[in-house]
Structure formats: structure tokens, C-alpha cells
């Protein structure tokens, strides 16, 4: 009885901890639809460098979101060596935001293209930006500089990036009273995509270790039964 009670208390504590460490909203939710009137102010260009070729290539005219599309090749490898250069340049001199809020921060993200998110609810896009699961990677997050109209970064493709076709999204965060909220966005949907491939995740050392360890159990059983059989035969 005492054990059951202590287990119940531990469970309640765990639930409380889980609730406390769940996502805490520190922003007012904004949707892409709400920001549509102020879309189209950024020129976003993508340039890639494959370390094998040591050459840059620009998948600029790639409106094809499938990873198999020729214009998405060659695929960038997720080995932290292949790089994607993203440049986001303002078309005009100033940035217009929704409700004329003051822009504070620019965030550039990599988002799954539609074919790469099909039948994968964990990559599902959502009109509410904070609930959108399709943009898991932050390429750059920087304070907005009023004197600068261009933001660029050479982003090494991280090792946990999966095989997919992507587009880039620029999101602008504004102060809204005591909270932050998104107040402008742009992306390269139907304009430019890039493709990535995973690292080699089965190196030779793993193959050898698997072969050796996997044979231990069957070999032990085989030797046990042979010894048992020989012992009974002698009797």
C-alpha cells in the first residue's frame, strides 16, 4: 500500500514537471494568412557549395519541390561540410510590417517542401506560425539592423538533416507591447528549392561490430547443443 502511494505521488510529480517544461508561449500567435498583406519584400537567393567539387552552384531556377527533380541535384550532404549560402535582401529601403509594429529580429529557416512532408504528420505545416512543424531548422537568427538591408549566411548542412527537398523562409519578429510576435514573412516556395541527403550512418566499424556481436548468441547455443548431444551419446 505504501509502495503504491509513493508511486502515485511520483507520477503526479512527473506530470507536474512535464506540464511545467512543456512549451510556454512567450509570443502572441500569428498566422501566415495574417501576414499575407506584407509578403513579398525580400529577395531570397540560395547558393550551395559541395566540398567534393569545391564549386558553388546556384539552384536558382528550381521551382520543382520534389527531391528527385534534376534541378535539385546535386544533393547537399548533411555532414556539416557542404554549405548553403542564403542571402535575404530587402527590395525596398524600409521594411513594412503588419500593424506597423517595430521589427526587432530576422529569422531565416529551412522548411520541408510539400512532397517531403506528405504522409508525415510530424512535418505538417500549419497556418499558425508557432504550430508550423514544417520548418525545423533555423539557418540564421539575428537582430534587425536598421542600416542594413541584406542578411547573408554560409550555413553548413547539419548532421541531423534528413533526406528532403527544402525551401527557405524569412520571418521577422516584432515587439508587440510586452510580447513578441511575427510581423512579416517571405519564402522561396515555387521559386527555389534545395535538396539534402543524410550522412553515411552505417560505417564499416559498425558493420563489423554488428557481425561479431550478432554471432555470439547463435554460436553459444550451437556449442551448447553439440556438447549436450555428445554427452548424451556417450551415455
Amino acid at each position: 500500500m505504501a509502495r503504491c502511494l509513493s508511486l502515485a505521488v511520483a507520477l503526479v510529480a512527473l506530470v507536474g514537471y512535464a506540464a511545467a517544461t512543456g512549451n510556454i508561449e512567450d509570443q502572441q500567435p500569428t498566422s501566415y494568412t495574417q501576414l499575407a498583406p506584407v509578403k513579398g519584400q525580400w529577395d531570397i537567393t540560395l547558393k550551395a557549395t559541395k566540398t567534393a567539387d569545391k564549386a558553388a552552384f546556384e539552384p536558382v531556377d528550381c521551382a520543382e519541390p520534389k527531391i528527385s527533380a534534376a534541378c535539385n541535384k546535386p544533393l547537399l550532404t548533411a555532414d556539416a561540410k557542404d554549405k548553403l549560402q542564403v542571402t535575404a535582401a530587402l527590395k525596398g529601403k524600409t521594411l513594412k510590417t503588419i500593424d506597423d509594429l517595430t521589427p526587432k529580429r530576422v529569422v531565416i529557416k529551412a522548411c520541408y517542401s510539400k512532397p517531403s512532408a506528405t504522409d508525415r504528420p510530424w512535418r505538417k505545416s500549419n497556418d499558425v506560425i508557432d504550430k508550423d512543424k514544417s520548418c525545423p531548422f533555423v539557418i540564421k537568427s539575428t537582430e534587425l539592423n536598421v542600416s542594413s538591408t541584406s542578411y547573408s549566411i554560409d550555413w553548413p548542412i547539419p548532421k541531423n538533416m534528413t533526406k528532403a527537398a527544402w525551401y527557405a523562409t524569412v520571418l521577422v519578429l516584432c515587439e508587440n507591447g510586452t510580447l513578441n510576435s511575427y510581423c512579416q514573412f517571405d519564402n522561396t516556395v515555387n521559386k527555389t528549392y534545395f535538396g539534402t541527403n543524410i550522412i553515411n550512418s552505417t560505417p564499416t566499424s559498425m558493420i563489423i561490430a554488428t557481425a561479431v556481436c550478432a554471432s555470439i548468441g547463435p554460436l553459444f547455443l550451437a556449442s551448447y547443443f553439440i556438447k549436450d548431444f555428445m554427452g548424451r551419446k556417450k551415455q
Binding site: 509502495r3 503504491c4 508511486l7 507520477l11 512527473l14 506530470v15 512535464a18 506540464a19 517544461t21 512543456g22 512549451n23 506528405t118 504522409d119 508525415r120 504528420p121 510530424w122 512543424k133 548532421k159 541531423n160 534528413t162 533526406k163 528532403a164 543524410i198 550522412i199 550512418s201 552505417t202 560505417p203 559498425m206 558493420i207 561490430a209 554488428t210 556481436c213 550478432a214 554471432s215 555470439i216 548468441g217 547463435p218 553459444f220 547455443l221 551448447y224 549436450d228 554427452g231 548424451r232 551415455q235
Partner: protein, 516 residues
């Protein structure tokens, strides 16, 4: 004392460390004891089953990483989950036949020893097909359940067999929860040594695989099949006779109770398997938790097996003391129906993490208690084909898991929360089948026992007159005698009263005849 060499058999008056009955089965169940031969068999059998569960559900614990590494879709994940439980369907039936013939020690040793390579090899899969095939072969290890239950039934008396079976199965099932706690930790530990995530999850599988190999060695070295020795030695000394395989099969498949339990177990254990498969992802995706927290919360469901499944077996034995088998059947129906109800409620709380966790805890208690209660009944369905009946019922659990996973979480276009809701509805419907179970010597839910039918009549009916003439039914005679405890003391007291009344009547008649 009671510890036998490989080829030795107990003499006519053996001594055991624990109190035993006429079949040399232990009459007490104390998990903190380690007296040979009963307790090592108990502990290693539940540990083997625990290891099988850890390995089978280890991929589910790391799915958020695996699905991105090998580019899996929702359909692929669903198929892999189905493959994991389907692998064991035929394996459990085969295991039931195997243990009846070769004994549970070989059954468990071979099962976990030969599936360990599949657990190692999942580290090498690079696409959906490889992942699904790996989970299929790893799923074969769930056949250890049948050998585990058979071994406990062989080692423990009818009065405590429910508790023993439920403790072993419950602690074994805990592996399904423990893995959601363990694997993210192992994964993180490996990642911390500068290994990328897509390599770390692969190396993590070496842990459950190696545990399986270690247990294989321990089981072959430290245990024996029966209290009196191993199957090979017992058969050699004619202490155990080999009977017709077809007769064993016939006794299992022509008994309708086998099929009722097979179907209904699919909606307690099968539901548990499905929830083990889908819960971590549901927590991760629905409540936006990180991998650790999602795994920790999902682990609670499986870890409740620590006491909930054993409590089911204990409840079964407790109600049987007063009401016999009828008490077991009623308890079974009530608790499994409550499990279905709380599964339905789980589907209605997807908006709140706190409510979900509260309902999940209660759901897990009833779901797992009903699994424990099931194997308080299964040992009594047949004595001749105990292993085979356990195999069919056990595989029914996996069929139920495959069906519920396919219907509610893969192919129907409904959300996971709705899947829980409809799974609960289906559970409550199928559970009504318990009301049809009837034992002529003990009764059923609504009908009393038939007058004049004894346990011997029921269990000896499984043997032909020729087999009885050869003495092959001797174990069934002993079992029938020991299973009289399933009459419950209410009926037994009534029987004793009528016997005393009959005896008193006979004395009076003889006195009258003398006086005359």
C-alpha cells in the same frame, strides 16, 4: 536440495527448499526468494520476457530520430509496428507446441538467443523495408511470453499460479515501458561522445541485444524445465511420457474456451502492445514535448506493469478462493470492460496533458490487470495442451495488437486520439465474450456447475481410452485433484455439508436397521 543435474531426476521422496504439492510445484509465491529450482526459473523467465519487450519496443522509443534518418512515412511506421507484433503470432503458437515437446528452458533460450542478431542488425537498416523486416524478426522474441507462462505453470501450484503468471508477465511487460525510458538515455549518452544522432541510435541497439545474449547464457546454465528435472531426463526415465502430438493439438483447438480467450486477450494485451507502439510519438507530436519527456511519460504506461499486471493475477487468485472459477470470470469481464472505457476516455482528453496522464494511468492499471486476470484462467482450460493453449492465447494478443494498430493508427484516416476512442469501444464489445465461458465442473458467469461433473471428468476427457490404459494421463489426474480449489470455498463448503449430511443419513439408516 531440489537442485538437479542436467540428466538427473528426482527420486520418489525429494526435498525442496519451498513447500510443494503432489506435483512438486511450489505452493507459495515469494518473489524475493531465490530457492532452486522454482525461483531461478521464475526470475530468469520474466527477465527474458522483459528483455524481449525492451528490444521489440526500443525502435518505438527512438522513432522521432529513426524516421528522419531513414525517411519513413506514417504508413511505413504503421507497417513496422504491425510487423513487430505480427512476427510473434505464428511464433507464439509454434512456441506453445515446442514447450509441450522440448520444455520451456530450450524454448526461452532459443527464442532470445536467436532473435538477438535481429536486434543487432536493426543498426544496419537504411530504408523502410529493412526497418520493417528487422522489427518483424525482433517481434519473434515476444514468443518468450508463452514459454514464460508455461514455465510458471509448471513450477507453481494452482492456488498461486495466477499470481506467479501475472508477476512474471507483468514484470516482463514492464520492458515495454522501461525501453522508452532507457533508450533515449542511451542514445543521449552516445551522442554526448560526439556521435551524430543518425549513428547514435544505431549503436544504442547494442545494449538490449547484448542483454539478450547474457540472459541466454544464464538460462541454459542455471535453470531446469520442471521441479523434477529437465524434459530430456524425465522422458528418458519415463517419469514423463510422450503423447500423441495430434492428441495435444486436438485438445487445444477443439476446446472453444481456447478461442474465446485468444480473441479477448487480443483486446487487453493487444491494446497494450498498440499503445506501447504509438504512445511516445503521440506525446511527442501532440503535446510538443522533447524526446526525453515524451519517452518518460510514455514509459509510465508500460512501467505500471510493475504492480498492475501482478495485481490482476492476485485479484484472480483472491476471488477464486471464495467464488472459484466463476469469480475469476466475473473479475475478468468487469476489469477488462473498465480498461476499454478508460481507453475511450483517453481519446477525449487530447487537449490536456494533465488529463491525458491521469486517464492513462487508470487505463494502464485496468488494461494490464486484465492481462494478469487472463492467465489466471488459461492454465485451467487444458492440462494436456497447456503450452499450446498458452501459445494460442498469447498469439491472440499479438493478433489483437496488429488489428488495432492497423485499424485505428495506420490505415483509417482518423487522428491518434480518435484511434484511442474507437479502440476502447471495440474492446468493450469483444470483452462481452467472457460471458460465454463455462466450465461444467465449476460453472460460468451466469450458469452454475453441472451436478455430478468433476474435475477428473473434464481433464481426463482429453485422453483416449487407449492413452489412459498406457497411463499417459497421470499428470492430468494430479492436476485435476489440485484444481479442486477452483470450486471456491462457498461451493466446497456446500459440498462438504451435503457429504456430511449424506454420511449422517447413512449412519442413521444403519442405526435404524440395527434397532429393527
Amino acid at each position: 536440495m531440489g537442485v538437479m543435474g542436467k540428466d538427473a531426476v528426482q527420486d520418489d521422496f525429494p526435498s525442496f527448499a519451498l513447500p510443494v504439492d503432489t506435483e512438486h510445484k511450489a505452493t507459495i509465491m515469494r518473489p524475493w526468494y531465490f530457492a532452486r529450482p522454482h525461483m531461478p526459473a521464475f526470475h530468469l523467465s520474466w527477465l527474458a520476457f522483459f528483455a524481449a519487450f525492451v528490444s521489440t519496443f526500443a525502435p518505438a522509443a527512438l522513432l522521432p530520430v529513426i524516421r528522419d534518418n531513414i525517411d519513413l512515412t506514417k504508413t511505413d511506421l504503421g507497417n513496422a509496428g504491425i510487423a513487430a507484433v505480427c512476427g510473434a503470432i505464428a511464433a507464439r503458437v509454434a512456441m506453445g507446441n515446442f514447450v509441450d515437446t522440448y520444455g520451456p528452458r530450450f524454448g526461452i533460450g532459443l527464442c532470445i538467443g536467436l532473435t538477438a542478431p535481429a536486434v543487432y542488425c536493426i543498426a544496419l537498416c537504411t530504408n523502410a523495408a529493412g526497418f520493417i523486416i528487422s522489427r518483424l524478426f525482433i517481434g519473434f522474441s515476444l514468443a518468450t511470453f508463452v514459454a514464460c507462462q508455461f514455465w510458471c505453470t509448471s513450477m507453481f501450484n494452482t492456488k498461486v499460479v495466477g499470481t506467479a503468471n501475472a508477476l512474471a508477465a507483468g514484470w516482463g511487460n514492464m520492458g515495454g515501458g522501461f525501453t522508452h525510458f532507457l533508450m533515449p538515455l542511451v542514445f543521449d549518452g552516445i551522442k554526448a561522445s560526439s556521435s551524430p544522432a543518425f549513428l547514435a541510435w544505431r549503436w544504442a541497439f547494442f545494449v538490449p541485444a547484448s542483454f539478450q545474449v547474457l540472459l541466454t547464457v544464464c538460462i541454459m546454465a542455471f535453470t531446469q524445465d520442471m521441479p523434477d528435472g529437465n524434459y530430456a531426463a524425465l522422458k528418458k526415465s519415463s517419469a514423463m511420457r510422450k503423447s500423441s502430438a495430434w492428441g495435444t493439438w486436438k485438445a487445444a483447438i477443439t476446446n472453444y474456451r481456447t478461442w474465446v480467450m485468444t480473441l479477448t486477450y487480443g483486446y487487453c494485451f493487444g491494446v497494450e502492445l498498440t499503445v506501447d507502439n504509438v504512445l511516445p510519438q503521440y506525446m511527442y507530436d501532440n503535446f510538443h514535448l522533447d524526446l526525453h519527456i515524451a519517452g518518460l511519460l510514455a514509459a509510465i504506461f508500460g512501467m505500471m506493469n510493475l504492480f498492475s499486471r501482478p495485481s490482476g493475477g492476485y485479484i484472480s487468485d483472491l476471488v477464486a478462493r471464495k467464488w472459484g472459477m466463476r469469480g475469476r470470470l466475473w473479475a475478468m469481464w468487469i476489469i477488462q470492460s473498465l480498461g476499454g472505457l478508460f481507453c475511450l476516455l483517453l481519446g477525449l482528453t487530447s487537449g490536456s496533458l494533465g488529463a491525458t496522464m491521469a486517464i492513462l494511468v487508470i487505463f494502464s492499471i485496468f488494461c494490464q490487470q486484465s492481462c494478469g486476470l487472463s492467465f489466471g484462467i488459461v492454465p485451467f482450460i487444458s492440462k494436456r495442451s497447456t503450452g499450446l493453449v498458452s501459445g494460442f492465447v498469447g498469439s491472440g494478443g499479438n493478433v489483437g495488437g496488429a488489428v488495432t494498430q492497423a485499424l485505428f493508427f495506420t490505415y483509417l484516416p482518423i487522428s491518434t486520439a480518435q484511434g484511442f476512442l474507437w479502440m476502447g469501444v471495440m474492446t468493450m464489445g469483444i470483452t462481452l465474450l467472457y460471458l460465454t465461458m463455462y466450465f461444467p465442473m465449476w460453472g460460468g458467469c451466469f450458469a452454475a456447475a453441472k451436478e455430478g461433473v468433476s474435475e477428473e471428468d473434464y481433464y481426463l476427457a482429453e485422453w483416449t481410452p487407449e492413452e489412459r490404459a498406457e497411463g499417459l494421463h497421470s499428470a492430468s489426474i494430479k492436476f485435476a485433484y489440485e484444481s479442486r480449489s477452483q470450486r471456491g470455498w462457498v461451493k466446497q463448503a456446500a459440498l462438504n455439508e451435503s457429504k456430511e449430511a449424506a454420511a449422517a443419513g447413512a449412519i442413521n439408516d444403519s442405526v435404524k436397521s440395527i434397532n429393527v
